[in-house]
């Protein structure tokens, strides 16, 4: 038959099924294939809290959303062009995300009465007309996969587990994706089970051929490569980039990396990634709790290593006393907070950025700690690297913040040249003459870093207030005030060491949108679109939250109104109001989900209404 090929700018696909259906695997494969043909990509995995909820239930649905484009994109897309639903529950959970007239591919073999009931459907949506505003493609995925694999020796159960590759084979056809990479992936993944390599390869190819052969699918789509700056690229997830950034900081500084952690969603994959790279001398310690995890980081820093711990909000709550110790002891550690939806246990598999004030203020006493936040998956590399640089240079703990959306999301990353990485100079004190543990560098106010084992420099530090210079225990009232000011001033001076803010769009005018962390993509896209429509709106994004950039105040003054969109109830907004005495306004969302671009656009429209 005559098949059409149509060029489109972009598409968003959502793969959804039971958590055991392999949606994450095929989503990742489609991402890789799209990146390799040169599209810009952005992803959003959506895990259920349960590892394996009952098959077919609403609670167990796992999704993977992928946005790819021939233009530069910053988000995984607001709504989907294609939904691949492996069962009725997957359909029910995700149908709201599908655009009108969107493509709906369902495994019709799974739409029997039992599964319909589990998903809470009274009647079969494939038959009752409720899906008529979509282009519905019922495909007998289970039967067709069994058919394709009938000559293998696998059990029916094993055969059925290959149907995700049949599905992705179809999607590959639909978007004209090469299969080589996924074939290679299958070979590697099942290297120890050649029969699985064969079966999944057959399923992938069968899905592809099915679309080619059947009249069901008449049109396939082409998304041309996007324009990127020249360089070598790979795909990277946020947590992977974080792990790479830590290894890079360790290698460049020459400091051994000691990573203490306690398993917690969504930070654990940093621990997993680092545990796999012991060839760099990386020590990973899975400790008995969150406190122990930061304890080893502090101990390692005292010994002269790069001590790092990683967790999420609840873990940070537990670490706060130890973090305060690192602050007063002035030891360089890096603490990663991969935020998730709180409060308390909250929604561990959903995203949010509501820990900012916790990181700012969540310690007893005056406890200034620098805070750096990553804006997107690839930015995790640069942001954590910068956190390490500042920690070592200023002898201070530094908090690195990202969030589940950034941590689990993936995008193309221009691989940096090792020689282009910023220097991290480490100067261990060995000179005995004139030594005191709380002497300070005149510029940075950093105290000397001394490795135990250095003769003649034996000294004691601790959590009790220190006398200036000598570091002896001191209850002197004036000394306490002086040391409080010194610690505060030391962190404030970091503002001299950070690049000026970039204002995207007009440098003054009606409206400035200020964002931080993982909302970068949605905010930038919304501002780009509004600017495209001629609106006077600018965007600036904060990587450094503490200290705030020195030029922020001046920039804020140049705009009539300031909007701070956040996935919390207005935490940065509150800091900006307090610091700069301006009536910053908020756009706030706490649904465990990132912003949709249209949400930010509508808020911009609202604020610009009536403005000239």
């Amino acid at each position: 038959m005559n098949k059409k090929m149509q060029t489109i700018e972009e598409a968003t696909i959502l793969f959804a099924g039971d958590s055991g259906d392999g949606s994450q695997i095929i989503g990742t494969q489609m991402t890789e294939a799209s990146a390799i043909v040169g599209n810009d990509v952005a992803t959003l995995p959506d895990y259920p809290a349960e590892i394996r909820a009952p098959a077919g239930s609403l609670a167990g649905i796992s999704g993977f959303q992928l946005h790819f484009s021939s233009e530069n994109i910053h988000t995984p897309g607001d709504a989907c062009d294609v939904l691949v639903a492996m069962n009725p529950a997957a359909l029910k959970v995700n149908l709201d995300n599908l655009k009108p007239n969107g493509l709906l591919i369902v495994n019709s073999n799974n739409f029997a009465s039992r599964n319909l009931k589990l998903a809470g459907y009274e009647s079969n949506p494939l038959e009752d007309g409720s899906l008529e505003k979509f282009q519905v493609y019922p495909v007998e995925l289970t039967r067709l996969t069994r058919e394709a694999l009938k000559d293998t020796d696998l059990s029916q159960r094993e055969v059925d587990r290959c149907k995700n590759f049949f599905a992705v084979g179809m999607v590959f056809w639909l978007y004209n994706r090469p299969m080589e990479n996924t074939l290679h992936f299958i070979k590697e993944r099942y290297a120890k089970k050649p029969e699985y390599v064969e079966a999944n390869t057959l399923a992938l190819k069968a899905g592809n051929v099915y679309c080619e052969a059947t009249e069901q699918f008449a049109t396939s789509y082409v998304v041309e490569p996007a324009e990127f700056p020249p360089g070598k690229y790979r795909n990277v997830e946020g947590n992977m980039a974080t792990a790479f950034g830590l290894v890079a900081a360790s290698q460049v500084s020459g400091l051994q990396l000691v990573y203490g952690s306690y398993p917690i969603t969504p930070a654990s994959s940093i621990l997993h990634a680092l545990a796999n790279h012991k060839e760099f001398g990386v020590v990973t310690m899975q400790m008995e709790d969150e406190i122990a995890a930061i304890g080893v980081a502090i101990g390692a820093a005292f010994s002269g290593a790069l001590g790092v711990t990683g967790s999420s909000g609840p873990g940070l709550a537990l670490k706060s006393e130890a973090l305060n110790l690192a602050m007063i002891a002035e030891l360089p550690i890096v603490v990663c907070n991969i935020q998730r939806a709180g409060p308390s246990t909250g929604m561990p598999t959903k995203t949010e950025q509501a820990d900012l004030l916790q990181m700012y203020y969540g310690r007893n006493g005056e406890s200034p700690v620098p805070i750096i936040a990553a804006s997107r998956p690839s930015d995790c590399f640069d942001a954590i690297y910068e956190a390490c640089r500042i920690a070592v240079k200023y002898m201070t703990p530094v908090i690195f913040m990202s969030d589940l959306y950034v941590a689990f999301g993936a995008e193309p990353w221009r691989i940096p040249e090792v020689s282009d990485l910023a220097e991290i100079n480490v100067d261990f004190r060995t000179e005995e003459e004139g030594f005191n543990p709380y002497l300070r560098d005149a510029t940075t106010l950093a105290r000397p870093w001394v490795k135990p084992g250095t003769p003649g420099l034996e000294h004691r530090i601790g959590g009790l207030e220190k006398a200036d210079i000598t570091g002896n225990v001191s209850y002197d009232p004036e000394n306490h005030e002086q040391m409080t000011h010194i610690r505060s001033e030391k962190v404030a001076r970091i503002a001299d060491d950070i690049p000026p803010l970039e204002v995207f769009g007009p440098q003054k005018g009606n409206l400035l949108v200020v964002s931080w962390g993982g909302t970068f993509g949605a905010v930038r896209t919304a501002v780009e679109r509004k600017q495209g429509n001629g609106a006077s709106v600018a965007h600036t994004h904060l990587r450094y939250l503490n200290p705030l950039p020195k030029d922020l105040g001046g920039i804020l003054e140049r705009f009539n109104r300031v909007l701070v969109p956040e996935l919390n109830l207005g935490q940065l907004k509150q800091l900006i109001r307090a610091e700069y005495l301006i009536p910053a306004e908020g756009l706030n969302k706490v649904q465990g989900q990132p912003f949709h671009v249209f949400e930010v656009e509508s808020k911009i429209d609202e604020l610009l209404e009536g403005e000239v």
Binding site: G456, E458, R460, G462
Partner: protein, 348 residues
């Protein structure tokens, strides 16, 4: 011209004395506190251990005992309540060459830091833990501790504590500690000997030291430490030796079914041959557990000495082995290779 000091072998470390380990800070424990003795015995034994001063790190938590590092002229870190084992683990893993000591108390190690305490011993890092057990909270002024006896009247338990205390040695053994001992603040020779043995053991060494708090819990251990009562209420564990005790060394411990029985060595019924013999290096922990339980039993003496010591690989050695193994198969880490691994593509 520089002159050789004739008494010193060139290249050898200078001989240190107790004074070399004393910092310039005034010691601020209550007069009469048992901590003074533990500090003094530690400072006295350190020169004999042959460790360069700069390689010693004392790490403490919070409590009276945890002031200890300030008085030592070594590297020291006075950390936060209960967390010293975790910080010590970080210090040790980042530099296994250091001699790392944790100074802690019964509240610090067994209450707020109980979790870290058991996991440190399970991991078996080569760290020495000295626990000053005074069965009371001293620094917070006299509340009951996790080793206080049931019924103890304190500020926070005016009608008597309704809790059962830990058996510290049993807890350590259950945590698979590879060296566990008990000593007494008022037995300086024994204390020095035990501290030395703890140092010489490779792996986590745990020493419980009965320590008198003369302000809030005076005399808590006098039955074990004072001349008049000590011999009848303690039995000193010595490897290969029968369990003989008493002022006139006229009593012993015999195994009666699964219970320890105090027998007389003078009434003609039993001789030394009938007594239990200590085996510090026994294969399993059963014997050590048995002796540890004696602490809780009425009418039997409390054991003092090394309950058990055995060798098993240290955490940091395993870690080094894994790093070496990773380098063996993957080669020395190459940052450029790491960043460029996997599927990549070029944009011209």
């Amino acid at each position: 011209m520089r002159q050789e000091t004739p008494s010193q072998v060139p290249g050898a470390a200078p001989t240190l004395t107790k004074r070399d380990f004393e910092s310039d800070q005034d010691v601020r424990w209550c007069p009469g506190c048992g901590d003074y003795s533990i500090l003094a015995q530690t400072q006295r034994i350190l020169p004999e251990l042959g460790i360069p001063k700069e390689d010693l790190v004392f790490i403490s938590g919070i409590g009276c005992s945890s002031r200890f590092p300030y008085y030592m002229d070594t590297y020291g870190f006075h950390t936060i309540h209960g967390r010293a084992p975790t910080i010590a683990a970080g210090v040790k893993i980042a530099n296994p060459e250091l001699s790392v000591w944790v100074i802690t108390g019964d509240g610090d190690a067994l209450s707020i830091g109980g979790n870290h305490f058991i996991h440190l011993m399970r991991r078996n890092l080569d760290i020495n833990v000295l626990l000053f057990n005074n069965r009371i909270y001293g620094l917070t002024k006299g509340q009951y501790s996790p080793t206080s006896e049931q019924g103890k009247v304190t500020y926070s338990t005016p009608m008597g504590s309704i809790e059962n205390p830990f058996n510290t040695i049993s807890l350590a053994l259950a945590s698979r500690v590879s060296f566990v001992a008990r000593s007494l603040d008022r037995d300086s020779d024994h204390l020095r000997r035990i501290i030395k043995a703890a140092f010489e053991h490779k792996g986590t060494s745990f020493v419980e030291i009965y320590q008198n708090c003369n302000v809030f819990n005076d005399g808590a251990f006098f039955q074990y430490t004072e001349k008049e009562t000590k011999a009848d209420n303690t039995v000193f564990l010595e490897h290969g030796e029968p369990l003989v005790f008493g002022k006139d060394r006229d009593k012993g411990i015999r195994l009666n079914e699964l219970r320890p029985e105090v027998v007389s060595l003078t009434d003609g019924k039993y001789t030394v041959e009938d007594l239990m013999v200590h085996d510090q290096f026994a294969d399993g922990p059963t014997l050590a557990h048995f002796f540890a339980r004696m602490t809780d039993l009425p009418n039997v003496p409390t054991p003092v000495g090394i309950f058990r010591s055995f060798n098993r690989p240290c955490y940091e050695d395993f870690m080094t082995q894994q790093i070496d193994a990773a380098r063996g198969t993957k080669g020395q880490g190459d940052l450029e290779g790491l960043l460029n691994a996997g599927d990549t593509w070029e944009i011209e």
